[in-house]
């Protein structure tokens, strides 16, 4: 009965989203107040209906209702409760439901926190979100109904994919989807602005905190996924350039460009067309990512069971949403003014360069992701594009971005002088060069790429500190340094914190790829192996039993300089429901390094008490990769909470000269 209620709520939600997508839009066009006023209540009703429906599916999971096909395929009565709840988004149908849940929540938040926006604007923004939601609800109802019954019901479920039975599943998809779907708000603002013809600084100011919020979630979501892959897959890697990882990384790159471009549009009224195009692209790439994952055109660890109808539906949806948006953009863009002029060297020009580079980076990822498909479509065979391609193209594109990141905060708007900037950053340059030369030598061997990475990290941190000091000195006006420092706007703090986060991330990536060490060995009980000064002694394996698996648990002693540090217990798990054994690595994490043991296979299948294949890793600074991402998000959060977003947005008529009038 409850699954039917959930299904019914979903049908009602589709109808409400259709109303939300049409009435307020027409109302805003023809200026009918009554129709415009439908937007907020409709968005609220939509969020409630979808939330109810989601709760119904969760209930079916918690209550082990195996007469629901989706539950029977992704759960099991032995499955611990937290994974039964998270199992809701462990498969195709449920994760789409999570997608639409996030969308309607974002729309609801816009409805609540948009009191100072003009009603027509709100109507158009919510209307756009309503139309997107309608498309997705239709997709779920027509091709991917999670409430479908299995009659007669199964006695027992097939269990959740063991790879997913991890706390990562509880956190990673919701964060990632919040980010993915969050770009729909920036997109809806862009479409609303294009429809009204009012592409102005006020629009940019409204969009900024929403875009930032989505970006924060996406950053955390991707970082979480990467960390999960690192400790769960047992391969020791943190990024695999898998098509689905790329699908989330592309909107991140464009979203990063977008938050910078929005800053220019807000402050200077420039780049308006560019900003709108980025907002449309960020969300389009989210949709494209959904298509790539759900249609099965590419193989990936994330791909779910595929059904050609689904692929065709998403493709049509993609054409409708992106095609209509780009057509609208192409029709309106020529009439949008250029905004404030700026010199060849200015903060605008530097940010524009950074933007172009980020878009190029995104294009290279897109190319690498779709290339196997292109080759296959041309009938030229099956290939896969792997890390060597991405690493080769990514370093040259990212290097200038990292360099410019240090300079841009010193450049003045409109027109800056190269000599002034050079004077301001010369010490940072010196520090960067010293670090690049010295640090790798301290750590062992000197490699050019290591030096380059460390140079950029030191450079970014040093310029951030210099810039901060300079700004405080300029705004002191007799007050103490500390008091002035703390009275700087939050967005300024946020920017530098996020940039330092990038530096921390770069250190992690550089160090781990330069100095990591790994050994693949065959160990019999009593034997030991050394890696990078860490001494592992293998004491054998014993059988242990989990709630829904049995495992061979290895027993290792970790010692440094002959002193015992800790026990490490990696496992090889055999879930009752799966043919594939799962590896649970054991990790000793630390600020400066992780050491990591994972258990392979017994050399002789019938003699688990004998020799085992064992892999040990030494990963210097690897946790800085995710620490950097957390700092970036934190910086974003602080910037988002800047006072000026809470002050009533100024009316469009008070905008700087050169802003276009509709």
């Amino acid at each position: 009965m409850i699954p039917e209620l959930g299904h019914f709520a979903l049908i009602l939600a589709a109808l409400v989203s259709l109303i939300l997508g049409t009435l307020p839009m027409i109302g805003a066009h023809t200026n009918r107040q009554a129709w415009i006023a439908v937007a907020r209540p409709a968005a609220t009703a939509l969020a409630m209906l979808v939330t109810f429906s989601f709760a119904c599916l969760t209930q079916a999971f918690v209550a082990n209702d195996f007469s629901v096909v989706y539950v029977a395929q992704h759960s099991n009565s032995l499955l611990p409760i937290e994974y039964r709840v998270a199992g809701v988004w462990g498969g195709h149908e449920g994760s789409l439901l999570l997608w639409i849940l996030m969308l309607t929540w974002w729309a609801f938040l816009v409805a609540v926190f948009s009191r100072e926006l003009p009603d027509t604007m709100v109507a158009r923004v919510l209307g756009t979100l309503g139309l997107v939601g309608f498309g997705f609800l239709l997709f779920i109802l027509l091709t991917s109904n999670p409430f479908e019954r299995l009659l007669p019901g199964a006695a027992e479920g097939r269990d959740l994919n063991p790879l997913l039975q991890d706390p990562g599943l509880v956190i990673h998809p919701p964060l990632l989807y919040m980010g993915y779907v969050g770009f729909s708000v920036a997109y809806a603002f862009a479409i609303a602005a294009l429809l009204s013809g009012k592409l102005d600084a006020a629009w940019a100011r409204w969009s900024r905190p929403w875009t930032m919020a989505a970006w924060i979630f996406l950053t955390l979501g991707i970082a979480m996924g990467s960390w999960w892959a690192y400790y769960e897959l047992g391969w020791g890697g943190w990024w695999f350039w898998d098509p689905v990882e790329n699908a989330s990384f592309m909107p991140w790159l464009i979203g990063t460009a977008l938050i910078h471009s929005l800053a220019v549009t807000e402050k200077r009224g420039s780049f308006k067309n560019w900003t709108v195009l980025l907002a449309i692209s960020a969300f389009s790439l989210s949709l494209l990512g959904t298509f790539l994952v759900r249609s099965g055109v590419l193989t990936s660890v994330h791909a779910f069971a595929t059904d050609p109808r689904r692929g065709i539906f998403i493709l049509i949806f993609l054409v409708a949403v992106i095609g209509a948006s780009l057509t609208l953009f192409a029709a309106r863009a020529p009439k949008v003014g250029l905004g404030g002029r700026f010199g060849l060297v200015s903060r605008e020009s530097l940010l524009l360069t950074n933007n172009v580079l980020l878009v190029v980076a995104c294009a290279t990822v897109l190319l690498g992701t779709l290339y196997p498909l292109l080759i296959d479509a041309l009938g030229a065979g099956k290939i896969s594009v792997g890390p060597p391609y991405f690493n080769a193209v990514f370093v040259p594109v990212m290097s200038p971005i990292l360099f410019l990141m240090g300079i841009a905060p010193f450049a003045r708007w409109k027109d800056a002088s190269v000599a002034d900037i050079a004077k301001a950053v010369k010490w940072a340059l010196a520090i960067g060069v010293i670090v690049a030369i010295a640090l790798p030598l301290v750590y062992g061997q000197w490699y050019a790429l290591t030096a380059l990475g460390l140079f950029f990290a030191a450079w970014i941190v040093a310029t951030a500190i210099l810039n901060f000091i300079e700004r405080v000195q300029h705004t002191r006006a007799g007050r103490s340094f500390l008091a002035t420092a703390f009275s700087q706007p939050r967005s300024f703090f946020g920017m530098h914190l996020a940039h330092i986060g990038i530096a921390v991330f770069v250190i992690g990536v550089t160090m781990v790829s330069s100095y990591q060490d790994e050994k693949d060995v065959k160990l019999a009980p009593g034997q030991s192996v050394d890696v990078a000064g860490y001494h592992f002694t293998f004491n054998g394996v014993k059988a242990v039993e989990g709630p829904n698996y049995v495992a061979a648990q290895g027993d290792f002693d970790l010692a440094v300089d002959g002193k015992f540090v800790r026990k490490m217990n990696p496992e090889k798990r055999n879930y009752h429901s799966s043919a594939m054994p799962m590896t649970e690595a054991s990790i000793d994490a630390g600020l400066l390094r992780d050491v990591y043991v994972s258990l392979g296979e017994p050399i002789d299948r019938d003699k688990p008490e004998g020799e085992w294949a064992v892999r040990v890793y030494y990963k210097p600074f690897v946790d800085w990769i995710w620490g950097g991402c957390v700092l970036m998000s934190l910086g974003g959060l602080i910037a988002m909470l800047d006072r000026r977003y809470r002050v009533k947005a100024r009316a469009a008529t008070q905008l700087p000269a050169g802003t276009q009038q509709a």
Partner: protein, 194 residues
Amino acid sequence: MNRYYWILGAFAALVALLAVGLNLNPRDVPSPLVGKPAPAFTLPQLAEPDKTLSPKDMQGKVWLFNVWASWCVSCRQEHPVLVEFSKKVDIPLIGLNYKEVRGDGGFDMGKMPADEEKKLAWQRANTWLAQHGNPYKLTVMDLDGRVGIDYGVYGVPETYVIDKAGVIRMKHTGPVTPEILAKKIMPLLAELNK
């Protein structure tokens, strides 16, 4: 027209690529087993547990080898297609029942004795076929999944076409649909039986 329309052109090209991509199957990775002799095995039969079957018993015939289990939800979807097939076509369809008990999440294998597993597997498989119809000439039981590993099974159901010389000619992963049967399997069977 204005210069911004090039974006639409680029998008149209992307859509065309994706549309073509939809009709390709990336999982159609040529299985390393295609063109190789079917791996040998000797497994007990479901109908008569004392008798066994090996691929060499099928020598001289073109046959289909279908991997199934009662816990496999997609098998239910595929099953009517196979039943229909077995009524119309005179080609031996051999079933490989894959991890009947172990594959199902509901049992604690650590505590189950081997003979109990065997009894349960036979009982479950027979009940399932009685309920849904039996399209198989006979089914062999792969309780521990070792034969499945030799055949590279990575998802149930899977179907293999094996020729008169005992060579695997095709492998299909996932449920057999009427389209796949009509467009791929039947023409291949006709050709092999020439």
